[in-house]
Structure formats: C-alpha cells, structure tokens
C-alpha cells in the first residue's frame, strides 16, 4: 500500500471511532437529563411547560458535542484536507 492508501485507511477508521466514542457521552448525558426532567414533571405536572422548554434547550446543548464529532467524521470522510 502506498502512503495515500494508509492515509485513507486511517481516516476511515478514525471517522468510525470518532462517531462511535463521540456519541456515547452525549447519549448518557441526554438520558440523565431526560430522567431528571421526567422525575420533575411527575412531581410537579403544573411546571411541565417550563421543564419541557428548558429540557429541549439543554438537550440541544448536550447534543452539540455529538454534532461536533459528526462534523469531524464527515470532514474526514468527504472533505479530507490531507487526501488529494
């Protein structure tokens, strides 16, 4: 294999590892947030509007870490600056 093939191989493997590892932590974080929100809604159903709103915004913030990983994986696969 010439160096270009090695580079492609490394990019593909790295993209897979990035998205695999990068989705674990946000998944755990979002699950914990959701758990707490459901708990809070069960205790105070009258505050469910506010809790849902805050939950959505919070989930979006947590999810952005997964999105960073996705963007890096996409760059490695489709717009790799190192591969000609």
């Amino acid at each position: 294999m010439n160096p270009r093939d090695w580079l492609a191989l490394a990019s593909i493997i790295t993209a897979g590892v990035t998205i695999a590892i990068g989705s674990i932590a946000p998944a755990i974080g979002e699950a914990r947030a959701l758990e707490r929100a459901l708990d809070a809604i069960a205790r105070q159903p009258e505050a469910s509007d506010k809790i849902t709103r805050t939950l959505f915004v919070g989930l979006a913030m947590v999810e952005s870490t997964a999105i960073y990983c996705l963007v890096i994986a996409l760059v490695l696969l489709f717009a790799n600056p190192l591969l000609p």
């Binding site: 709103r53 959505f56 915004v57 979006a60 913030m61 999810e63 952005s64 999105i67 960073y68 996705l70 963007v71 996409l74 489709f78």
Partner: protein, 220 residues
C-alpha cells in the same frame, strides 16, 4: 434530485452560486410574498396576528429580561429556518440549511443581534461583562462567546446534513420507499432544530441584555 452536498449551479466570475443560494433566496421571496398577500386579506391577517401574538407571548415567558426588540428576529428565524428545513422533503428541492454557509450566516446574525441590542440599550457599558469577575478571564469570556456562535452554526448544519446524508445513503442501499420513515424523522428534527435555534439566539441575546442591566455593585 435531493443532493446531500451543495451543488454548483452557475458562476459569476469567481462567485459560485450553489443551489443553497437559489433555494434560500426563493424561499425568502416566497415567504415575504405570502405574508404580503395574507396581510391584504382580512381573515388571513387576523389569523396571522393571533399566531404572532401567541409566539410573542411564548417568547416573553421564556426569559426574565425585557426582550421586546428581539421578538421579530426570533419569529423570523423560526419561520425561515423551519421552512428551510422542511424544504428538504419537497421533491427536487434540498433544504438549504444543510450547507454550512447558510447556517454560518444565520449564526452571525444571531451573534450580532444580542450585541447590537445590548449596545443600543446600555451603551458600551455592557462590555463590562467580559472583564467580570476579573480582567484575567477576558480571553475565556471571548472564546466562550465565539464558540457558542460556532456551535449554533454547526448544530443546525450537522443535524440537517446528517438527515439528508442518511436518507441519501439508505436510498442508495435499499431503494424505493425505505427512506420514508427517515424523512419523517428529518421533518421532526427540522422543526425542533428551528425552534432550538430561535430559543438559543434568544437565550444568548437575553444573557447579554440581562448581565448589562444588572445594577452596579456599590463600591465600599
């Protein structure tokens, strides 16, 4: 054909015109025209006013600061980004928000909005929030401000891009009708992301407005 990546349509000198430009401009014109036509009809106008008031009420309830000047911007963002995200399910159109260029432009508008309104309301005094609690934290505050703008652009781009890419891949692998559930999911994602983009713009801008409005601590 719905392409996961922006397609070049024509060039003016060095200026590349992609389908993002065409779709988003067409969408803006269509929205403005639809609003103009609806304003001319009394029934449609009353419906729109009720809708706007409901949205305005929900925006005002979200934050404690007075965000009256931000309301039109947030409602515009909701309408435009929502329509742009949903344009992906129309045959022969692709959602323009899957292009990083458009989401970056939207994020820059969101970034400027908070600062312009804070500057208008409080003058240069609002810049003081960047040297609080100590001036040593200035670089961190500036990086935080910039990174949330970048995150705003990347979040919308990543969500819409992944949606259209996954439908394209599934269409390639499995063929007819199989990507339909994924497209339904992307409709849901599109609506939620439009909502979240507006809410985050509001929250960031309101934090600028709010911090600046805090009364100055009395010096001992």
């Amino acid at each position: 054909m719905s392409q996961p990546f922006p397609v070049e349509i024509t060039r003016f000198g060095g200026l590349v015109v992609t389908d993002t430009v065409v779709t988003s401009l067409g969408l803006s014109i269509a929205i403005v025209l639809a609003a103009r036509i609806a304003m001319a009809l009394p029934a449609a106008r009353a419906t729109m006013e009720i809708g706007y008031e409901a949205l305005e009420g929900s925006i005002r309830k979200m934050v404690t600061a007075d965000v009256a000047p931000l309301v039109p911007l947030i409602v515009t963002q909701w309408i435009f980004i929502g329509c742009a995200n949903l344009a992906g399910v129309v045959p022969r159109l692709a959602s323009p928000t899957r292009d990083l260029a458009l989401t970056a432009a939207l994020a820059v508008i969101a970034f400027l909005a908070g600062h312009v309104f804070a500057l208008k309301r409080h003058g240069l005094r609002y810049l003081r929030q960047y040297i609080e609690p100590t001036p040593i934290l200035l670089p961190l505050n500036v990086i935080g401000e910039l990174s949330r703008t970048v995150a705003l652009a990347l979040r919308l781009f990543g969500n819409m891009m992944s949606g259209s890419l996954i439908s394209a891949i599934v269409l390639y692998v499995a063929g007819l009708l199989v990507p339909v559930p994924l497209m339904l999911l992307s409709v849901l994602t599109g609506v939620v992301q439009a909502y979240i983009f507006g809410v985050l713009t509001l929250v960031f801008a309101a934090s600028s407005l709010e911090i600046a409005g805090r009364p100055r601590k009395a010096k001992p």
